[in-house]
Each structure stands twice: as structure tokens, then as C-alpha cells.
């Protein structure tokens, strides 16, 4: 892709990508690395994006790369202990199960909030405005959603 086109995408989406990365990795430096890697790849020219798919590509890429880091780094252990039993289930299955569970067992509002935060990278303030509730209420809804996920996947931890 042309440098100007990549720059335009960067200016438009970087902040939201950062939010998704920070929410998943909880590490400022790592989050920057993940987002910048994606744009470096676009600058290298290995990938061209069909018009209209850029945002989806960027947000999915950042989420996938964060999850990959979680899989490969010690953070994973930290995260797994909090969410799942160390079963023989593969990590891919584990992630898929969580996503499936989130979309089938949470209330509609919790699903929306979960999706807006973890997939779309909306700020707490934006989600609060969209849902007509306070930011603290958004945090608590997300907290409840995460507890439900844990309860389902690792009841012993509760």
C-alpha cells in the first residue's frame, strides 16, 4: 500500500486499536508494538486491502495478534489461571469456546458491551454514551460478563 494510504488508516484507527490491545494485553509498550507491527506490514507492501474492509482487517488483526501474544507469553498462564482449567483443550478451541459462550449466554446488553470493548475498541465513555449508562456501570457489566465466562469455564476458581 502507498505510504499516504497507510498513514490515513493509521490516523483513523490507531487509537481504537490501542484500546483493544491495552484491554487484552494490559501493557502499554506491547500494545504499541502490536499495532505498529500491523502498519509496518502494510508499509512493506505484503498486504493490500479491498476497499471497505480496512477497518475490519485492522481490528481483527490487532485482536488476533494480541491473542497470539497471550498464547506465547507468560501472560497466558496468568490469564488462563483466571479463566480456565488447564485442560487438554487446545488454545484455539479455548478461545473459540469463550467467544461462543459470550455470544450465547450473556444478556443482549452484555454482549453488546463485550463486543464494543473487545472487538470494536470503543472507549468506556463511548460505550456508556451508546448504552445510556455510566462508565462505572459499563465496567461492572463487563466485570459480570467476565465472571460468567469464568464460572462456565472454571467453576472451581470461584
Amino acid at each position: 500500500m502507498e505510504r499516504e494510504a497507510v498513514r490515513s488508516l493509521f490516523m483513523q484507527h490507531y487509537a481504537r486499536m490501542q484500546r483493544v490491545a491495552r484491554t487484552l494485553l494490559f501493557d502499554v509498550q506491547e500494545s504499541e508494538d502490536v499495532c505498529q507491527d500491523i502498519f509496518e506490514s502494510l508499509l512493506r507492501g505484503g498486504t493490500d486491502l479491498m476497499p471497505g474492509t480496512e477497518e475490519r482487517y485492522l481490528m481483527t488483526s490487532v485482536r488476533n495478534r494480541c491473542l497470539k501474544r497471550l498464547r506465547h507469553e507468560n501472560v497466558l498462564q496468568d490469564y488462563r489461571q483466571r479463566t480456565t482449567d488447564n485442560s487438554q483443550e487446545s488454545e484455539d478451541d479455548w478461545l473459540e469456546d469463550i467467544v461462543e459462550f459470550a455470544t450465547s449466554h450473556l444478556s443482549e446488553r452484555e454482549q453488546r458491551i463485550f463486543n464494543l470493548r473487545f472487538t470494536e475498541g470503543y472507549s468506556y465513555e463511548e460505550i456508556a454514551a451508546a448504552e445510556g449508562i455510566s462508565k462505572v456501570a459499563v465496567w461492572k457489566r463487563l466485570s459480570h460478563a467476565i465472571t460468567e465466562v469464568k464460572k462456565h469455564f472454571n467453576p472451581k476458581s470461584l
Binding site: 493509521f10 484491554t23 498486504t47 479491498m50 471497505g52 474492509t53 482487517y57 468506556y124 465496567w139 466485570s143
Partner: protein
């Protein structure tokens, strides 16, 4: 202390928000949502961009023939020769693979794919020990013919409408098939699903129509 310095605090706040005041939760949210300096981050991305490095390597290969600067360093000569050999090796591998995919046919169902591969050129690259297929403006059926061989899967077309779509993508062989499918499904116009040893491809329109 910056709340982002303490992961335990974050997880605890996430699990037991009732133990924290609204102010503490809001401070954590403010940290998580702090707007980054996008311009500075862009400049950093540009400065880290491998474009520079790649260009220098290619320049190094091109300038092999010994300007004045080359006279003094034996090690640099060795490095340049090594780069040239590596470059030729990669090109040979690319040619071999292109030829391999050109001449091999499977069955009737994939004849069209193979024909397409005959006229399509893709690149094979090696980066950090990882083999990379680089497809630039290549038809979907050609891409799938190559990638399905790598993952030892059969491609079944629900309909051939998307087969002619041309894509620019880079596939790393270290990626799982699932990652590849996920990446491909980020494009519009088609949908790939994986079922045992089969990659099933259908157009977006057909799928939506079926719902």
C-alpha cells in the same frame, strides 16, 4: 502509581469492582483509554519500518561489483556473496515451486485451479526461518491451490463466482490453517469454511441468500 503498572490491580478491579470506589474505577478506565500521540506513534512506525533495511540489503546485492568502498573489507565481500547466494536460493525456490504447481494436477475438480496457477506468478520468501508465500494480484483459485497443498487440504467450490477475485496477501507457513482461513475471510466476496480435510469456498452472496 500509574494503574497500568499493576496488572494484579487491574484483574482485581475487574473481578471485584465492588471493592473499589467509583473514582478508582474511573481512574483505571481513564488510563486504559488514554489517547495515544498518534503522530508520534506514526513517526515511530516509519522509523521502525523494515523498508529501510530491505532497501539497504538490495542495494548491497546490487553494488556487489566492487566500488571503492568494497576494496577494504573482506568480511563485507563475504557478507555480500552470502546475500547474493541467499537471494539466488530464494529465487530458485520460487521458480521450483512455481514449476511444481504448474505441472502437477490432481483431479477434475481442481483442473481450473491448476490452469490458473500456470499463468499466475507468486513469490516465495524466507524471513526468520519462516517460509512466506507472497501473492500479488493473484486469483483466489490460484492462491487456494497453493495454500491447500501446503496444508494438505482439498478445495471444494460451492460456486466458482469468487474464483477470479484477485488479492494481495502474504501467507506465512508458520501460521495455522485456522489463521489463514480467518485472514482470508476478512476479505469481501467469498467465505471459506474448514471441514476436516476440506476447504469449502462459496460467495458471500450465495451464503446470504441461503439464510
Amino acid at each position: 502509581m500509574n494503574p497500568l503498572d499493576d496488572k494484579k490491580l487491574f484483574f482485581d478491579m475487574q473481578e471485584y469492582p465492588e471493592n473499589y470506589s467509583d473514582e478508582q474505577l474511573e481512574r483505571m478506565m481513564a488510563e486504559l483509554d488514554k489517547e495515544p500521540d498518534t503522530e508520534a506513534a506514526w513517526q515511530k512506525t516509519l522509523s521502525n519500518s523494515p523498508l529501510k533495511g530491505e532497501k539497504q540489503s538490495l542495494d548491497g546485492v546490487n553494488s556487489l561489483p566492487l566500488g571503492e568502498g568494497w576494496g577494504g573489507s573482506f568480511l563485507r565481500r563475504v557478507a555480500a556473496i552470502f546475500l547474493a547466494v541467499a537471494f539466488l536460493g530464494i529465487m530458485s525456490l520460487a521458480s521450483y515451486r512455481a514449476f511444481f504447481y504448474k505441472v502437477k494436477t490432481d483431479n477434475g475438480q481442481r483442473t481450473t485451479d491448476t490452469t490458473a496457477v500456470k499463468t499466475e506468478r507468486f513469490y516465495v520468501d524466507v524471513q526468520d526461518g519462516d517460509t512466506i508465500f507472497r501473492f500479488e494480484n493473484i486469483r483466489l483459485d490460484s492462491i487456494l491451490a497453493v495454500v491447500s497443498r501446503h496444508y494438505e487440504r482439498q478445495v471444494i467450490w460451492g460456486d466458482k463466482a469468487p474464483a477470479h477475485l484477485r488479492l494481495f496477501i502474504t501467507c506465512r507457513t508458520s501460521h495455522t490453517l485456522r489463521e489463514f482461513v480467518e485472514m482470508m475471510n476478512m476479505f469481501d466476496g467469498f467465505r471459506i469454511t474448514q471441514d476436516l480435510n476440506i476447504l469449502y469456498v462459496e460467495s458471500d452472496e450465495k451464503k446470504e441468500g441461503a439464510k
